[in-house]
Symmetry: none
Subunit: 229 residues, 4 copies
């Protein structure tokens, strides 16, 4: 049945490449002088603003240098391309994401509390970075290397979830008729996509009911709530 599907490893937009670690050009390292570091930081900050305002495709190098208050050519002193500076912005964002997720306060000690904390953390981080999240979606869909980054990032979260589920199965908390990888992907999709529909597409929701709903569905789907007495 799945046989009619396109090769899964070959998304349509462009020919997939094995992940080539970003070529470290002259721009790879941090600038040596303080002035250089300042300029570089200004460019990254400016770039984030421009990406948020115009999206990935419509962001022009000119916009970025202008917003940073430097000459056009200066951009190429620090970055080789739009993609490269985008990766910097994206890295910072994903880092913020992880930090936020972990830093969210835990309200209780049960499994449901943990799930709730994860969901709340994710949604809050998404809220704060909503505009860039939309842009990342756009960029990832267009640029193969950026897509790779995004897929990798996704895998990080999904793998964590899959490990948890597997552990819960070993602990007898979750039925073993479920495949952890399938479940983690499905439930991760649920949370991630819900955030996108809400915060990027603009479907009107609110944080607390969203957290509640996602947490309830998540736990009931795994039958965690019956175990968690």
């Amino acid at each position: 049945m799945a046989s009619r599907a396109p090769e899964p490893s070959s998304p349509p937009t462009t020919e997939p490449r094995r992940y080539v670690p970003p070529v470290v050009t002259g721009a790879g390292d941090l600038p040596r002088t303080a002035r250089g570091r300042r300029t570089r930081a200004a460019l990254i900050e400016a770039a984030r603003g421009v990406f948020e305002d115009r999206g990935y495709i419509d962001a022009r190098i000119t916009d970025i240098t202008q917003a940073a208050g430097v000459a056009h050519g200066t951009f190429y002193t620090y970055f080789d391309s739009k993609q490269e500076i985008f990766q910097e912005v994206m890295d910072a964002l994903l880092e913020d994401f992880r930090t936020e997720a972990d830093g969210t306060p835990l309200r209780g000690t049960g499994l449901i509390d943990r799930v709730e904390r994860a969901n709340r953390g994710y949604l809050r981080a998404y809220e704060r970075n909503a505009r860039m999240m939309g842009v990342i979606e756009q960029a990832a869909i267009i640029n193969p290397e950026l897509r790779h980054m995004r897929v990798e990032s996704r895998r990080y979260w999904v793998d964590r979830a899959a490990s948890s589920i597997a552990r819960w199965q070993r602990d007898g908390l979750v039925s073993t008729d479920l495949d952890p990888r399938y479940c983690a992907n499905a439930l991760g999709s649920m949370v991630d996509r819900f955030a996108y529909v809400w915060l990027v597409l603009g479907e009107p929701f609110e944080l607390e009911p969203a957290v509640d709903t996602l947490t309830t569905l998540y736990c009931r789907a795994l039958d965690l709530d019956h175990q968690d007495v």
Copy 2:
């Protein structure tokens, strides 16, 4: 005196008063001759192929006319822009989607069977149209009008699901502590995004376990399986 004269203060050459609507080249109705209908259909078919191969952004009008074997200008006899022909392709696809979803055989008569049928139908339609689904995602993220179409289409499915959930609540099958709209969005996101991750991003899954997992999670999340004895 100047009675028959036009208003002197309104020079005719460049600011016409009577507005003659510009000729609507394409877009209008269907071509009047069989030949025209053939050409138009050929363009749409060619366009789908080109979109699948190159994505929305990289698809050029030239690619489409070449694939259809007509002159470049012929495109503009039938369509005004890439967006317009894309909408045609997308319409056809969404139609196919609905048809497929409804036509999937029902394996039993219980609620779970119905959920399963919906999920299997959705995934099968997604499979068949995987490449275009990816392209639609791309296009919708870039073009506001296409995004609108996609959001509307999404709403169609979500509303259906929300209605079902509300009905099940009235029938005492689903706990009333859940908001149908939140649930429908979350669970719809789960299925839709899972399909995307699998069939567009290329995460390796298979149809039957996917249907099973999604159906199980969907039903347990709503506690449908306890009722459905």
Copy 3:
């Protein structure tokens, strides 16, 4: 002094050609059937409206056929080009111009009365055809053959005026220190251009004071008013 001027016979826009009488193609003669004559007339009428609304450059064949309610290709059954149908429209207009000019009532019998009649007639005809006059100016400036027509038409009026002036000189009514051709051109320019500035460019004037002013200036310039006692 005049030596630095560009070759007078070589206006800049395009290479001047000797006047080639319009090539009589298949379209030259009137259609044989009544239906054909009707279609042709409809096209000319439609063309005038389109030219008035959009100017010469922006008028498209499509606009004309659409306004005439015939198929696109039908145009070429009767005309070979936009220029050709424009000439038809222009011919009719110039004819109307001459008729109007001659038909204007003569208010008295003196020279001044005649000058006034000519001016009033010219301005009234201009008023009625103001929009097309502007378009003719545009067309003549762009298309060498149409410019030729316009120059010829201008010459017609100027020659008439020059003849009158020469006659008046022979009759001792006008000082012989003036060159009739120079005068006729200058005074004709005055009237024609005044009409353009008023009725095409939209400078606000009114008919009667305009006639008065132009007539007074015209006659005093030639000292006709002193003779005309």
Copy 4:
């Protein structure tokens, strides 16, 4: 709750809220480097030549960059459109016009001498710029903004003349039965259009008789020659 979040109803990806003004490529100020100024000047000079040779409509950006010996894209470093560079050329020309008109030697001290000087100055400036004057006529007839410029420029001359006539009336030199604005427009039209017919349309005239005729007609029309004893 969702306090730090952006308005959910406003998706960021495509409808940016903060408006980042598009980079103004050309048009801005003068180039900052000498090289840039040189290139810009070369483009303007080349443009004038191209306009003279091909007219406004047929002048292509490519022609201009080729004539200036720069790459196509360089044009857009300094100008946004053909219209914009044309305005520069036109500005320079009108400036030259005013300078020339004022700088023409005054042959005597009477009113007639002044009129003659103005006419000679105008015709000489017209002679020197004949080709561009024709092109300006073309451009002004086609492009609304350029027409506006031209109308404004015309108004400048006509207002000057109207002021003179009004003054002469106050001084008892010109009959008060004439409206200065009507007269200034009519007589200005005479001179301007005569120059056009001569130097653009190519009707054969010569400078001195032209100056004489126009001056005589101008003065007699206003009865200046009777006063000027």
